[in-house]
Structures are given as C-alpha cells and as structure tokens.
C-alpha cells in the first residue's frame, strides 16, 4: 500500500462497498477452536437430518495444531465462485445460493474458492455452501454457532470485521507513515 492509500484508508475513504452492511458470515476464533469437527456434524444434521460431514457447509481443519479452525462460506463481496460460474447458477443474496436448474456441477466454483468451502451434492444436483441457516436457527443463531462447545464460532457482519481490521491497522499505521 502506498502512503497515500494508507492515509485514505485511515480517514475512512474506502473502495465502494458492493453489498449492504447487514450481510453476515460465520467466522471462527482459532484461539478457542480445537478442530473437534462437531460443527461439521451439526451442519449436516440440520441440513440433511443425518450426520454426513462430507456435505457439511462448514469445514474444520486440524492440520496445524497452532491454528485449528473451521471455515464456512465467507459470503465474499467480490466472490470468485460467482465470477467463474459458466452458467450463472451462483448468485449472492443474503447468502450465496445456487440455482439447481442452471448448475451443471462442472466444479469450477469449487476450484475457484480460495477457502475450499464449496461442495457438490449429487443427490440434489447443486453446489452447496453455507446459507447461514435462515430457517433452522437456535437462539437466533446458526446451529453450528449455537452448539460449538468452545464458543469459537460467531456470526458477524462484514462491517464489524472492517471495524476490527481498521483498529488493527491503526495500531500499525504509525510505523508505515514514518517510513514514507
């Protein structure tokens, strides 16, 4: 980032927001997560009435012991999966959705996703991603968030994430400005 860009960011002059600020996504605090995989089980139980982690929309990862984490669809503002979909089956509403009429399950979206959170459900013939469970909430939260034993998962808005990263950036800005 150039010094000018940094100054702009600090003053709140930002790139144009693509979506309204109310949109949420599920994030995981890796300092609390133990990669127990229970979120995968709960997700599939809610969505399919069976335990089937293969089709869970949130994926746990225990490969790095210092960084256990679970990741669900980031509801990206500039989603690579939507960009590469050749049939325009994917679109972004309150959450990412896939139109089963248009999906040819080519798998390009799965490759394009930098987080590896998309999967194809061959039974329903559509790509599946976290839809934030509008119909199955527990205590007005997605069930994985409500049941996570360590309360590592939370549902947040993009705006709150932006606020947080601004705070982090503020702490480091002095160093950057001085250098320029």
């Amino acid at each position: 980032m150039s010094a000018q860009q940094v100054r702009n960011h600090k003053n709140g002059v930002n790139q144009e927001k693509k979506n309204p600020s109310g949109k949420t996504l599920i994030i995981c605090d890796f300092t609390k997560c133990n990669a127990c995989y229970l979120c995968e089980y709960i997700c599939s139980l809610i969505k399919y009435n069976q335990i089937r982690p293969f089709l869970a929309r949130i994926k746990a990862d225990k490969h790095a012991v210092e960084f256990p984490i679970a990741i669900a669809c980031r509801q990206c503002e500039d989603a690579p999966c939507i960009k590469v979909c050749p049939t325009e089956a994917l679109s972004m509403g309150d959450a990412l959705t896939c139109d089963p009429e248009k999906c040819t399950f080519c798998g390009w979206c799965i490759d394009a996703c930098p987080f590896g959170v998309l999967n194809v459900d061959y039974d329903t013939k559509k790509v599946v991603a976290c839809d934030l469970c509008p119909e199955n909430r527990i205590d007005d939260l997605p069930p994985c968030v409500a049941l996570c034993p360590r309360e590592a998962l939370s549902e947040v808005t993009w705006d709150s994430l932006r606020e947080k990263s601004k705070e982090h950036l503020q702490d480091n800005l002095l160093m950057v400005e001085y250098k320029s």
Partner: protein
C-alpha cells in the same frame, strides 16, 4: 436400528478375498459394538492355543453405536486380537476420525485373517475396498505413512491407522498409530498387524449416518456439549493428564526407577505445570470431542529442539520418572519416537526401566551394546537410543523388544522379581503398594496390567475405608460400566458428567435401541466375562491375576507410604472377594449358572 450399518468387512489373506457380512441385531443388543463387539468376534474367530503371530490369529476393528453420530467424545474405535505380548486377549481403544469415517463408509467392523504375501495397505473407500501394494512404505515412520497415503490418494480427508517399523518387525508391544498423536497402544496389536503384512488401513467415508430421532438427539447434544466444557472436565482441558505427576508424587505413588520408589526428587522438571508453562503450543481435540485434552508440546532447545507431540501422563511417567529421567525434552523426544516407530510408550518405558535396574545390578552385561555398557537410571540419551533399537530389534533392543516378562526369563538370575508386569503387560503409572484397590483392579484386568478397565485407583484416592467385600463389589461395578463405555464408545473423561440414564436415553434417540437399566448393566458383565473366558481358554489361571513380586514383598523404602506393601495373604483375600463378587469360584472360573445368566452357556466347549 439407526447409527449402526450392521455390516462388517472380512479380509481373507493371502488371497485377498474381500467380503461384506451382516452383523445380526441380537449380537449388537448383547455386545453393543466397539470393545464388546470386538471381544465377541475375536472369541468366535480363533481357536485357542495358536501363536498370536500365526496367520490364524485374527485382527478385529470395531466401532460402537455412537461412532459418527455427533454424540460428544465418540470419535473412537476398538481393536482386538490374541496378544503376542501376553498370550491372552489383547485389545485397545483409540480416538480420532478413523472410527466415524469407517462408519460413514458403511461399516461397523473389520476382520482381517491370514497373512499377506507382501506388504500391503487396505483402502476402504465407501463401497470400494482394495488392497494396495505398500513396498514403498516398508520401515516407514507411522506418521509419515499417513502423509504418504494422503498424498498418494490425493485426499487429505483420508484417515489412516498405521504401524511403524516396530510392527513390521513384530516387536511384542508394537502399537497402531493414527492422526499423529493417537494410538491403539497396548498388548502388541501393532505386531499382529505386522504379522499379517498390513502396513496401514486407510478409510474414506462420504455416506450418511442416520439417527432415530434427530430432533431429540440435537437437544441432548446441546446439553452434553455444555457439560463437556464444565467443571467436570476442567482437569483435562487445563493441564491434562500430566497433572498427575505432582499429585501422585505428593501421595508417594509416582513410579520411580522401575517402581522401586513412589516419589521422584525431580518431579517438578517433568510435571504438567512445567509442560504448560514452557512448552505448550496448543490444544487439539479428537474428532467429535467437545472436551479437548490433547495438549501439544514442542521442545525449544537442545538436541531435540523442534520435536512436537501430544504428551499424556502415562507416556510421561514411563519414559521419565520410571527411568529416573528428569529431562523433559528427552521424554518428549522418546515419546514422539515411540509414536513414529510404533511402540507402546508405557511398555517401552517400563521395559527400559527394567533394563536399567538389571544393568545396575550387573545382570545385563552379556546383552548390552558397547555404547550402553554404562546403562543406569537417569540416562536420557540411553532411553532415546533404546527406543530406536527396540523398534528396529537391534542389539540390546532385540531382547527388550520381547517385553519385560520374556526378557527377564532370558536373563534369569532373579530378574523376574523386578519385571513389572501383570500377565506380561507392563504396569501403568501407579505405585500399587500405596493403592490397595488399584492393586486388585490392575491385576484382574483381562488384558493385563492396566488402569483403564476400572477406576479402582479412584477408590484409593478417595481414601475410603472398604471391606474386602465392598471393594470387590465396587471393582466389579466399575469394570462392568467401563466395558459398556468402551463399547459405546465414549471417552472416560466425560464419565463423571454422564449417567447411565443419559446413555440409555442416547441409545434410544440416536440408535433407536431400547434397553432397560437391567439389560444395560448386564452388557458390561457379559463383555468382561467373555474376555475372562477367552483367557481361561488360553490357559489363564488364578495365578495370572496377581501383581508382581515387588508389590507383594518389597516395602516402599521412603516417601509418604514408606514401609507399605501388600502381603500375599491380604491380596489373596481381596482377590477372593473380587471373584466372589463376580460369581466365580476360587480359581476365578465363572460358574455355569453365571454364564447362563449372561447368555454364555456352553462357551467352554
């Protein structure tokens, strides 16, 4: 029934014939699954009297009703075979995603019989089951095997259970390693797998596991996940089992220098507190566990810098205080080597401690490698060297690879008196001279010296004044409960937060299995009794249910329990009371009436 698939895979070697069989519902009602099912299968599969490393031994893997169902702490599976270390029934339970993945693939159990002509690995891929050549995996570190197979199959979600070089070389206490820090540790089940030329079992499962009443199950799960994070489990989430080091040292029951002493002057240096303060990197949980007790530590300095592993109390005591070792980095290195090369840390540590005592007494000269001539307690570099030599059966390691009982028999000269095992299985980290109930519990355990078959040490820790009858009764009760726990399979760390009523309800809403409290309690008794019958069939008698001579004859030389030991007459009475509580005769043989009440009539034919 839900949850269960009701199917098992049978692999017949050397032809490599693979078939799927049904498991009948009655068997599942009587044995539940997991350890119970594995016990039943191994009992039926093999004829008594065979050599455990003979192709006619079978190797059984079995999951329980809760595997893959999101009941917390149920990511587990059981393994059973005739043990090459003890000659009796060998079994173990291990944790991770392997069990649930086997269930998702569509199976409740695996039976492997015979021996392959070359080294193979088994790959269970939902409906497709294949045996792959594993020449490239020969002598490979068990953890690297998982990485290799995942890369070869191009799928990081594949779960792998593997043996290290020790299993291939049929070290008598070789283990099966999975997910880096988890093992089916005891009884030499890795050697049985090696004797069949099976290097690893890989499994990928994408199928569904159904629940009887998903709505009610979800409500129950929520409650249980909360309990897993409550005070009932704080010990495990905080320091973990290494907390025992200072607690036991305080009580004078920390086995030091081959169980000669109950206190270790350097206990602080190898304590759970030191591990957490200096070396902990993070905490992991087994797949499906809402507790999370796997504390990962990493060596910072010295020759073993960078070594990372999950270290629990038993590994810590065996490779640390039991060998007189106070260097925590060396303990971590030795434990990690055991996992990679594939040997049980408890047996390894206790066998090495045995060798150290024998060496100090001048009894081991003809067996010691040149660079080990000065072998003595506290020599941590010798511990690391010996772990490696045991795994590869090199030099002194070849003798020790046989286990302390056989090593002592070869050495002779009275060394049998300090070979610390029961039935050939090395004792875990408790000084039994200070724990009377544990002395009985560990010695009657069907797989040998083991602390996991009953929580008898809990009775001692609570300092209850018990009559022999009460003690016998309580040990029987807990043994029965634990046999059920190991069959569901649930983690013992959640035991205090979950009642029998909870478990019966879970079986109903998860599996649609309705059991009365009476039937439920009977299952544990049935499983433990069948294990006992297996042993009797293999020649076990009353004399196999005794602790080693050190416990019965040597007063503790110092510490809070100074002077204590368990005189033979006292032990005999406690053992009589246990047999009576079980309904067995003085030789420990179940009566026909007892067997009939469990549906086991005619098992002795």
């Amino acid at each position: 029934m839900h949850g269960y698939t009701g199917r098992l895979i049978r692999i017949a070697l050397p032809r490599g014939k693979i078939s799927i069989e049904d498991i009948d519902e009655k068997t599942l009602r009587c044995y539940l699954g997991g350890l119970g099912l594995a016990t039943k299968l191994i009992f039926d599969e093999i004829t008594p009297g065979i050599d455990p490393l003979d192709p006619r031994n079978s190797l059984i893997f079995a999951v329980g009703p809760f595997a893959g169902t999101a009941v917390p702490t149920t990511g587990k599976f059981a393994v059973a075979a005739k043990s090459p270390l003890t000659g009796f029934i060998g079994y173990g339970v291990a944790s991770g995603l392997f069990g649930p993945t086997l269930r998702s693939a569509g199976y409740d159990a695996i039976i492997i019989q015979g021996r392959a002509r070359g080294l193979l690995y088994l790959f269970i891929d939902d409906d497709e089951i294949r045996l792959h050549p594993a020449i490239k995996l020969a002598d490979m570190d068990a953890i690297k095997v998982e990485e290799f197979i995942r890369d070869e199959l191009n799928d990081q979600s594949v779960q792998v259970a593997a043996i290290g070089p020790a299993g291939e070389k049929m070290v008598k206490f070789a283990c099966i390693t999975l997910e880096g820090t988890r093992q089916v540790g005891r009884c030499g089940l890795g050697a049985v797998m090696g004797s069949k030329n099976i290097k690893a079992i890989a499994v990928r499962g994408t199928g569904p596991v159904s629940l009887a009443d998903p709505q009610r199950a979800l409500v129950k799960y929520r409650e249980l996940y909360k309990r897993c994070q409550s005070d009932a489990t704080i010990k495990y989430r905080n320091l973990g089992t290494p907390q025992n080091v200072l607690v036991f040292n305080e009580r004078g029951v920390l086995p030091t220098r081959n169980f000669q002493y109950g206190t270790f002057e350097k206990a602080e240096l190898v304590s759970g507190e030191t591990l957490k303060a200096d070396l902990r990197k993070g905490t992991s949980a087994c797949g499906g566990c809402a507790i999370g007790c796997d504390h990962i530590v990493q060596v910072k300095n010295g020759p073993y810098a960078g070594t990372k592993t999950g270290l629990d109390y038993e590994s810590l005591f065996a490779l640390g205080p039991c060998c007189g070792v106070d260097d925590i980095s060396a303990v971590i290195k030795a434990a990690d080597l055991c996992d990679r090369l594939g040997i049980d840390t408890i047996s390894a540590g206790v066998v090495i401690a045995f060798a150290m005592e024998a060496a100090e007494k001048g009894l081991l000269d003809e067996f010691l490698d040149d660079d080990l001539r000065d072998l003595r307690f506290g020599d941590w570099s010798a511990v690391v060297k010996l772990v490696e030599r045991i795994a590869f059966r090199e030099g002194t390691g070849d003798l020790l690879a046989e286990g302390s009982r056989r090593a002592a028999a070869r050495i002779g000269k009275g060394s049998e008196r300090f070979a610390m095992h029961v039935k050939g299985l090395e004792l875990p980290g408790y000084i039994l001279r200070g724990l009377k109930s544990a002395a009985v519990g560990f010695s009657v355990s069907t797989r040998g010296g083991c602390h996991l078959r009953n929580a008898a040490y809990g009775l001692d820790m609570k300092e209850l004044e018990l009559s022999d009858q009460e003690r016998g009764q309580k040990i029987v009760e807990i043994e029965n409960q634990y046999s059920v726990i190991d069959s569901l399979i649930l983690c013992k760390f959640i035991r205090s937060a979950v009642s029998d009523e909870d478990l019966i309800e879970l079986l109903k809403v998860v599996n649609g299995l309705e059991l009365s409290q009476e039937e439920f309690s009977r299952i544990g008794e049935r499983i433990t009794t069948l294990q006992k019958v297996f042993n009797i069939r293999e020649g076990a008698t009353r004399k196999d249910d005794y602790p080693p001579p050190r416990v019965l004859e040597e007063p503790l030389p110092n510490g809070p329990n100074k002077g204590q030991y368990i005189p033979l007459e006292v032990y005999d009475q406690m053992l009589d009371a246990y047999y009576k509580a079980r309904g067995w005769n003085k030789e420990g043989i179940p009566s026909e009436e007892n067997l009939r009440s469990l549906g086991l009539e005619g098992v002795f034919k």
